[in-house]
Amino acid sequence: MTSSTRAPFEYAPAPESRSIVDIAPSYGLFIDGEFVDGTGDSFKSVNPASEEVLTEISSGSDADVDRAVAAARRAFTRVWGPMRPADRSKYLFRIARLLQERSREFAVLESLDNGKPIRESRDVDVPLAAAHFFYHAGWADKLDHAGLGPGPRPLGVAAQVIPWNFPLLMLAWKVAPALATGNTVVLKPAETTPLTALLFAEVCRQADLPPGVVNIVTGAGDTGRAVVEHDDVDKVAFTGSTEVGKQIARAVAGTRKKLTLELGGKAANIVFDDAPIDQAVEGIVQGIFFNQGHVCCAGSRLLVQESIHDEVIASLQRRIGTLRVGDPLDKNTDIGAINSAEQLARIRELSDYGEAEGATRWQPACDLPDRGFWFPPTVFTGVSPAHRIARDEVFGPVLSVLTFRTPDEAVAKANNTTYGLSAGIWSEKGSRILKIANQLRAGVVWANTFNKFDPTSPFGGYKQSGYGREGGRHGLAAYLKGNDA
């Protein structure tokens, strides 16, 4: 048989329609059940894939935050706190269903604002956000059975500050447990990705959620600080960088506020020589290139057993060559845009350090769009534990490859980090997986998979990855006080 000239299989553009979303020219704040104008300056929100200005966003001032916290306090004291738990549950179920019904709208808006591929916002972010509301809706009237003693009580007003990497999902991780446990919230979405939070505000109205139970105050760092440092706040929950997390810990120290922090990570993804190699390669790709690597639990350090290093790297490079980088709204896109010019600059800086320190950079041939913020999937081999790209969180599509010889060395290298959020183990040997998992100092350990999330599973870190857990029964504790407290 002779082979004929083979045309490559090109995928025609398959863009998801933008027409389902209706972005207003400007947005105010959501306080006490109403959209109100902010009294601070406004700022622009851009589409990172095109640098197109999407809308103008209000920046919440101290006075705005005051009003929001006051509304939350009123709602807590008069309505949401005293409400029968089963009734709170009904609201949460209603919100969960509305998220599902409006899922396309949320997915398109998230991809426009954040730059992540529509496949991920559609198949991961939005369904998981709905799942968090469903899960916590079920808890609302069963808190006596959460293992926190009889009749655990809500804390009051929760100040919540969330990051730009999973805007709606992080909102769900914060708002769903707070509401289910009877707290009210003032939420500050990230400066670059406020749009799905504002659409969520609309969903709260649609669900007839009592005014003041959820308040959304947009803005940058100053607004976040005002929310966190407000005197009438009982609980602070933050997901974001370790640097800002430390500032928050300092600000909250000595106050009555309860604090949970979910910060950075530098996860090890450990591949043993008896791993299912093809699936491990998929897991490495999923671990570091999911969401452009803007994932605090990303598997950014590949620890591969030296005996299979070359084979794994060859497979990995072949696989990375098939990743489709480009328009986030195209249904076939695997890797979208970097969220901001600022983040792109940081990724470039750390990658340049990687080369300067002697690691070998590899990137596939790929055409990047002319406008917008883009960085190709990148693999550094020959990385030593002393290199910055092996220690600092890049928060981008950059993988550092290190090797190990024995299981003990794998554990030692995996734990040799100031972080401790997540880790992955790849092996066909069950006993090895269990043993290694027990030795890893990381909040989440995945075995033969990576970046799998579920509302029933607690998530959180060791060391500088933060403290407290979100999700599952453990996550409820962060929003409740027992009768002994």
Binding site: M1, T2, S3, S4, R6, A7, P8, F9, E10, Y11, A12, P13, A14, R119, D123, D274, A275, P276, I277, D278, Q279, E282, G283, T322, K331, N332, E428, N448, T449
Partner: protein
């Protein structure tokens, strides 16, 4: 033919026969003994089923539209092994199928013809005659298809008969009983023997993955077939459920990919059974494209074993051309 065969004593064979059956370097010694072969096959990396399912799940979301859909449909049509494998098959039925193979859509001469017509060996001659000089291949199932439960002598006779009747492609079944009993070398030797009986006819080796069940088994059986000289590896007979599932296809494609990387020899792949819709076919084309690449996107290297698939491809093709759906009366029954 009993227990140990001549293959365990290669020196007993004429030189040309040995050349035919020796696996390519770097695997030329892996089949030297039962234990060596077993160690090799069990040393292949394992397959994590959950991971394999997740991978095909993501690929299943690829959105193939407009020009790429048109290309995919025509390519898929040209890759069909149009199949009839019924006890009730007659010369008339086979001639009707051959006519359809040559001209799948009578209303559109631009529609590509299929790759092959696949029949039982006794009807290969009828197919050969009906296909004339169309260039369409005649594939015949053999080796006591579909169960493969017969002596090796009978299987070889079955193959020789089909080839004599004009089949230029033989679709054999492996001895699943031997495989599941761990007698890998028996499976291997039988494929070698069948390949020899094929002469110049191309050999497709059916693993019957629905009976092998685990993906680890699918990987091992794929390697046995490739090492033994099969030209294609094929998922299923179509007589056992499940037949060609996407995770099975993924693992077999990984096998042909890895085999070519190691030996330089390219092996074809044929999923068969259960692929009924254009959507299923396109999912397979995407799977090939993103697992092994465009080198396999050709009827020489990839086939669909199917009967009802062709009509769905034709309906979708008409829909793309005319902008509206027609109906079952606008494609021919065969």
């Amino acid at each position: 033919m009993g227990g140990m065969t001549h293959l365990l004593d290669p020196d007993a064979l004429p030189d040309d026969a040995r050349a035919l059956m020796a696996p390519l370097p770097p695997y030329d010694d892996v089949a030297r003994s039962d234990s060596a072969f077993r160690a090799f096959l069990h040393g292949l990396p394992g397959v994590d089923q959950v991971g394999a399912e997740a991978r095909v799940g993501v690929l299943g979301t690829r959105s193939i539209k407009t020009t790429s859909k048109a290309w995919a449909i025509d390519t898929a049509i040209s890759m069909v092994d149009l199949t009839t494998l019924e006890g009730a098959d007659t010369p008339g039925k086979v001639r009707s199928l051959a006519a359809k193979a040559r001209r799948p859509d009578p209303g559109d001469p631009g529609c590509p013809q299929v790759a092959a017509v696949c029949v039982y060996g006794d009807l290969a001659g009828v197919a050969r005659e009906a296909l004339g000089d169309s260039g369409i291949h005649v594939a015949a199932v053999a080796t006591a298809f579909p169960s493969g439960r017969a002596s090796r002598a009978v299987k070889i006779a079955d193959v020789e008969d089909a080839v004599a009747n004009g089949a230029d492609e033989i679709d054999m079944v492996i001895d699943r009983g031997a495989f599941l009993a761990g007698r890998y070398l028996d499976v291997y030797e039988e494929i070698v023997a069948v390949k020899e009986a094929c002469g110049s006819a191309h050999l497709k080796v059916i693993l019957e993955t629905g009976e092998l069940v685990t993906l680890d088994n699918v990987r091992r059986a794929s390697w046995i077939a490739m090492l033994a000289g099969g030209d294609f590896i094929k998922t299923s007979t179509g007589k056992v459920n499940p037949a060609a599932t996407l995770p099975v296809s993924l693992v077999m494609l990984e096998a042909v990919r890895d085999f070519r990387a190691a030996t330089g020899r390219q092996i074809g792949f044929k999923p068969a059974g259960g692929i009924r819709t254009t959507k299923d076919a396109i999912k397979h084309l995407v799977l090939i494209n993103e697992t092994v690449g465009a080198d396999w996107l050709d009827p020489d290297w990839f086939r669909f074993g199917a009967s009802s698939l062709l009509n769905d491809l034709l309906l979708q093709r008409q829909k793309l051309r005319t902008g509206h759906y027609s109906g079952p009366d606008y494609v021919t029954v065969d």
